[in-house]
């Protein structure tokens, strides 16, 4: 058995980009882990961090807050942060929160 509340987040280097792919719902039980992984990714000083959300069918405000925080840290460090492949439900929470203009959101990892 895996420890409680563990979520899989895969990581892949693509040129100077670092692609993180969280797998599963990002809610209060998972966002602390995503937060830690984003911080660790930034510490590696990639050109950009791409967060591939194609395997995240659900996210709540704790997940969004984690990404907003990461965006602030990335901006300070001069690192890009790109969100890709959002499910409609996940996209709509960014829309309601008026964050679609704040984040760089693209449809697919290229």
């Amino acid at each position: 058995m895996t420890p409680a509340d563990t979520m899989t987040i895969t990581e892949e280097q693509r040129g100077s980009d670092l692609v993180l792919q969280p797998i599963g719902d990002v809610d209060l039980s998972r966002s602390p882990q995503m937060r830690a992984r984003l911080a660790a990714a930034l510490a590696k000083k990639p050109g950009r961090i791409m967060v591939d959300l194609s395997k995240v069918p659900y996210m709540d405000s704790s997940g969004v807050a984690t990404l907003v925080e990461a965006l602030q840290h990335c901006r300070k460090a001069g690192c890009g942060l790109v969100l890709t492949s959002l499910h409609p439900r996940v996209r709509s929470i960014f829309e309601i929160a008026k964050l679609t203009q704040v984040f760089e959101i693209v449809d697919q990892t290229d």
Binding site: M1, A4, T6, I23
Partner: protein, 156 residues
């Protein structure tokens, strides 16, 4: 965790969705989740059909405990305040016999490590089911998505 519902067939689907997710979190593989869901569904179906005889205002309580001993699993208690019945009057169905009905209790016994019917001191019946992850004899992958995390201390 405890759920209280009325004896309405249309609520069964929601109960199944809840149990499926709980079981996956505890660490049951997909097949184990399906077996647990079916076992609880069969208990509920019997309560609705036989216990409350189709009346839609009977109450049913379902409580969940995650188990660590003797191995990882779940205990589910399903309670009602229907009249009492004795399941030992309904022995193992002869599975060679082809007839509609009489399947629920057999399925329940097959799908669980243990299942116990008891009379509640306050009236009605309690069915207690236990099922363990390791009971499920297949090598199927557990749910993807890291859903197989623990759910200790679910009990309210």
């Amino acid at each position: 965790m405890q759920l209280c519902l009325l004896s309405q067939p249309r609520l069964l689907g929601s109960v199944r969705a809840l149990i499926e997710t709980l079981a996956a979190r505890i660490g049951f593989c997909q097949r184990g989740c399906g077996e647990l869901v079916l076992a609880v569904d069969e208990v509920l179906t019997n309560i609705i059909r036989h216990g409350y005889e189709g009346a839609e205002d009977g109450r049913i309580w379902i409580s969940f405990w995650s188990l660590q001993e003797p191995s990882v699993g779940i205990r589910v208690a399903i309670e009602d305040h229907q009249q009492v019945f004795d399941p030992s009057e309904f022995p193992e169905r002869d599975l060679e016999e082809v007839r509609p009905g009489g399947l629920g209790l057999s399925l329940l016994r097959t799908l669980t490590r243990s299942c116990r019917h008891e009379v509640r001191p306050e009236g009605g019946m309690r069915v207690v089911i236990e099922k363990f992850c390791e009971d499920v004899g297949d090598s199927e992958d557990p749910e993807s998505g890291g859903e197989s995390a623990g759910t200790e201390g679910m009990h309210p």
